[in-house]
Structures are given as C-alpha cells and as structure tokens.
C-alpha cells in the first residue's frame, strides 16, 4: 500500500532523516522504534506531507506529493499526540471535520454516509454522550478520543499515529490501542505508528523499523527486528534486562 523510497528530511544543516526506505502492506501495523531524536516522528510527518522531504512516498503506486490534499486525506489519516484547541468547538464539530475530504461544497454535507460515519466514530470512541460538549471542557483523554473519532470518521486506508497515548492514563492507552487493532481487522487497512513504549510496540505491532540518528538500522517483521541485540545497540543499554526489572516490581 505504502512505499517509501530513499526518504530524506533536512532542516537547514540538520539532517533529521536520511535514506530511509520501507513499505507497508495491508493488515500490517508498522512500529517506528528508536531513541529520542532518531527521526521517528519526522518520518511520520513526511508521510503525512507536513514535513519537507526529498525521496519518494507512494500510495498504491501514486506519488503522495502530487496528490490533491483532499484525495490524500481519503487514503491517509493522522492522529497526533497533542491538541491545543483555542476555540470552544463541540465534540461533534471536531469529528465532523473528519468528513472534509468526503464532502465538497458548503451545503452538501448532509449526506447519510457522513452522518453515519460520524455516529459510528462517536460511538466507537465512547464520545456520543459528550457530542454537544465544548472541547475546552474535556479532559486530555476525552480530547484525544475526540480526535481519534475525527480520524475514524475520515475513514482512511492507512492510519498514522504519533505517540497517540503518550500522556494518557493506562485505561485510555489500552482502549485506544485495542480500538485501533479492531479497526485494522477490516481488510484494506494498515497502521504506521511511533511508540516510545517498547512493550506496547511488541504487543501490537506486526512489523518494525529501528531508527537511529535518522537512519534505518533494520526493518522487517517485528519479532526479527526488536531483538535484544538490535535494541541494545541502538539504545546503548541492556534493554531486556531493564524491561525485566520493571516487570519484576509486579511479582
């Protein structure tokens, strides 16, 4: 579905990502893994077309750079980590924006497809009751669920997630990831995500790319990539031992 060739992102003199290539196929959940500053989010932003890049990013063989933004949005959706909302939009208004790429014009929004997609997205994320509430009054978790509902309403083929539960309670973390796994079960879909938590990556991912200093150290099936040797080299510590230490506190 998604093919990234020789991706390079440069800000002034700083090369954030260099010669990264990978592909994502239907049903895969690709985890971008690596220490801080490895370029994980930058790769995601380049795919979302919000970071300037050279190289080629193709969706079903079509170059994303030359695709119209609204066409692109029907294929690729993004859930970011933080949302700073300034105005008191209602939950439903935010979710409705997700239908932007499926509707043209000022008055043509009332299609049943739209209403149905919005209802479903609200229901799946458990935000139906708060639909008329101002987003300024929501908790961090509810706000993130609102934007998750937005991207579900957008109904893309590939979902890009940038640390979607970074600052959320564990319960939201679990709910969000389970929901996304369920979403992925529908044929023709794929997920690419940046996750800091290696346990989460191992639990949900099918494939992985290990990034370090802007370069892909290795990529492929998750279990073959997130090996102790690979992780220890990139993180410069005994990752497995640390994870076991963390877990041992529960015994």
């Amino acid at each position: 579905m998604l093919e990234v060739n020789n991706l390079r992102v440069q800000y002034d003199d700083f090369i954030a990502v260099d010669s990264v290539s990978f592909s994502v196929e239907e049903g895969q959940w690709l985890m971008l893994v690596g220490p801080n500053g490895a370029g994980k989010s930058t790769v995601l932003n380049a795919v979302a077309q919000t970071a300037p890049y050279t190289g080629e990013i193709l969706f079903d063989g079509k170059n994303l750079k030359t695709m119209r933004p609204d066409q692109r949005a029907t294929q690729i959706g993004v859930l970011s980590q933080n949302h700073f909302v300034e105005y008191s939009f209602t939950v439903e208004e935010i979710v409705r924006l997700g239908r932007y790429s499926h509707t043209r014009g000022f008055f043509s929004e009332k299609g049943t497809d739209n209403e149905e997609a919005i209802e479903q997205a609200l229901e799946k994320t458990g935000m139906t009751e708060q639909r008329n509430q101002s987003v300024l009054t929501l908790s961090g978790g509810e706000l993130q669920r609102t934007f998750l509902a937005q991207v579900l309403a957008q109904n893309p083929k590939i979902l890009l997630l940038d640390e979607p539960t970074n600052h959320l309670d564990l319960i939201y973390q679990k709910q969000t990831f389970s929901l996304i796994r369920e979403w992925l079960h529908v044929p023709g879909r794929a997920v690419v995500s940046v996750v800091h938590d290696l346990s989460l990556a191992k639990l949900y991912g099918t494939h992985a790319i290990l990034l370090d200093h802007g370069k892909a150290v290795s990529s492929g099936i998750l279990s073959e990539i997130l090996t102790p040797e690979n992780l220890n080299e990139v993180y410069k510590m005994d990752v497995g031992a640390w994870m076991k230490t963390l877990l041992s506190t529960w015994d």
């Binding site: 933004p69 609204d70 029907t74 949302h83 105005y87 924006l97 790429s101 000022f106 300024l136």
Partner: protein, 342 residues
C-alpha cells in the same frame, strides 16, 4: 448545548430587522434630530419620485446622513468579517486588522499614493485603494513571515507583538510623509482614528461590492476556516489545501481592509470586538460566525458612529476613539481568559 450547523431563516430575518432598525435610529439622531415620520415621508418621496418638500430635513438625510450610515454599516461588516476570518485562520482570537498592523500598513499605502500622486494607468480613480490593498497584503505577509521565522508555532503572543511593533514603525513613517505633504494628505487623526464623515454614495457602492465579493469568498471557505481554527496541522491532515486556503483568505482580508482604510481610515478593533461577542453567543463554527459577524459588525459600528456624533454634540469624536475604548477592554478580557486557560 446543541448547535445547528447553519443559521435559520428566522435568525436572518431578525438580524435584518435589527439592522434596518439601527439604520433608522442612526439616520434620525444627530446634531439635528429628525423624527422617524419625516424620514418615512422623505423615503416615500424618493421612491415615488416626488420632489422633496423644502426644509433641511431631506438634504441632511439624503446627502449627508444616509450615505454616511451606509458606509459605516458596510465598513463595520467588512472589518468584522475580515477579523473573524483572520482569527480562524491564525487560530488567534486577538488577530484583527489593527492588532496585526495590517490597517496601519494599508494607511501607509494610501498616504504614499496621495502624497506622491501615484495612480494606476488603467485605474486612475482607484490608485489610493489599490495601494492600500497592496500594502495591507504586504504587511500581512511581512508580519506572518517574521513570526514564522521567530516562532514556527505562530503563537498568539509573538504574532501580536510583531503586529504592534510593525504598526508603530509604519505609523512613524506615515507621520513623516504626512508632515512633508500636509497640503495634500488628510490630517493624521483620519489615518489613525478613522472617520466616515463626508462619505458619499460612491464610497458606499465600492464598499458594498468589496463586501459582497469578500464575504462570499470567506463564507465559502467556512469549513476550511473551521479546520484552521482547530489547528493548521489538523487542517492539513483532514485534507484541506492549506496553502491555497491561506492565500485566498489573506488576499480577501487584505482587499476588505484596504478598501475600508482607503475610504474611512483606520478604525481599530471592530474586527476584534464583534467576532468575539458572536463567538460567545453562537460558538466558533464559521458557518454561523461569519454571517453573524457581518450583521453584528454593521450594527456595532453604526452605534459607535452614533455615539461619536452625538456624545459631544455639536463636536464630533473620531469614530476610532469609540471603537478603541470598547476594543481595548475586550482585548484585555480575551487575553486574560486565554491566559487563564493555559
């Protein structure tokens, strides 16, 4: 609270009624108060092409007050809808022609064209206006460009700070030019505080055309402005062509502000006050916000102009004095609230 996407027909009807009522009020009251019945008679005479009866009433109403009130209403609506659009686009409730320095930039353009006699060969009558529009647009580009360089998140504070400094700098240059060309350019108060005294039907017609075109373009971008008001990155994610929308809105806003400034000088804070009030009542959705701001802006500026005319009768205050007093207070309130939220 459940809100409808669009305004209902009844709302439009009520708003139109309020607008007409305000026009009548503003035409009646002034240095000489003219009873509503007489205005009715004068308008009937105009419509039936009967010659007006003798007396000052008809000439005051038809050649002084009515064109002025119309210009005030159209200016208020234009500045207000332009302010609302800018606040959405920049996700900044403090953005307005006056706080961003765009109006001051437009004034400089107008002053330069008058002082140096700049006209355009194909638009000899509109040299001032074209220069004002051009300078409004260049000011916007400059302020936004500088802000992007300093702070790529385009934070509320940076952008306003840049706007204020820019406005100070530009008004100094404008002062120098006005000092050297005092015989040709209106007094500095006109450019800094604005006035629609002496405006005529031609001005009203030009304002009406600009407002019709401008508000149509902005309202047709209401969904895109909603997306920008949530966040530019989010707008890009959901498929908004961010570059095209940004350019469209900035050009439209420049035209609206440029036309208003070239006719009425800089009338500050109108674009800040009315969208803020509207948002408090009707929420931030631009499908409601933009049309409501049109009406509210027209009514607000007509009332401000009325106060400016009758408060110290027979002396007249510059209209910008009234709007700035109200505007400055609203500015502080918005600033305080958005700070407290963080």
């Amino acid at each position: 609270m459940q809100r409808k996407e669009h305004l209902s027909f009844l709302t439009y009807l009520l708003l139109t009624a309020a607008l007409i009522a305000t026009v009548c009020l503003c035409v009646c009251l002034g240095s000489v108060n003219i009873p509503l019945a007489e205005i009715g008679r004068i308008i009937r005479n105009v419509l039936s092409r009967t010659p007006q009866e003798s007396g000052v009433g008809a000439s005051i109403i038809l050649s002084v007050r009515l064109p002025r009130v119309l210009c005030v209403a159209l200016t208020g609506a234009s500045l207000s809808v332009a302010g609302a659009a800018m606040q959405g686009l920049l996700r900044n409730p403090l953005a307005d022609g006056s706080t961003l320095g765009v109006s001051t930039g437009a004034s400089l353009g107008a002053v330069i064209s008058i002082a140096f006699g700049i006209t355009f060969p194909f638009l000899p009558f509109a040299g001032t206006m074209v220069m004002a529009i051009l300078f409004a647009f260049l000011s916007l580009l400059f302020i936004l460009g500088l802000t992007y360089k300093l702070d790529s998140s385009l934070s509320t504070n940076t952008i306003i700070l840049n706007g204020v400094i820019f406005a100070m700098f530009i008004s100094s240059i404008m002062n120098i030019i006005i000092t050297f060309a005092a015989d040709r350019v209106q007094h500095i108060t006109f450019w800094t505080m604005g006035s629609l005294q002496g405006s005529d039907y031609l001005d009203a017609a030009v304002l009406a055309v600009a407002l019709a075109a401008g508000s149509l373009i902005l309202i047709s971008n209401a969904r895109e402005l909603n997306a920008f008001a949530v966040g530019e990155e989010n707008a890009s994610h959901i498929g908004v062509n961010v570059k095209r929308v940004k350019l469209t809105v900035l050009i439209t806003v420049s035209v609206l502000i440029g036309v208003c400034v070239s006719i009425g000088g800089t009338i500050g804070f109108v674009g800040l006050v009315t969208p803020h009030m509207v948002r408090m009542v009707a929420g931030p959705n631009h499908k409601r916000l933009l049309p409501l701001s049109l009406f509210a802006g027209a009514i607000f500026l007509m009332l401000a102009d009325l106060v400016a005319r009758i408060l110290l009768n027979p002396r007249e205050l510059p209209i910008g004095v009234v709007t700035s007093i109200v505007g400055a207070i609203v500015f502080v309130v918005i600033f305080y609230r958005s700070r407290k939220r963080r």
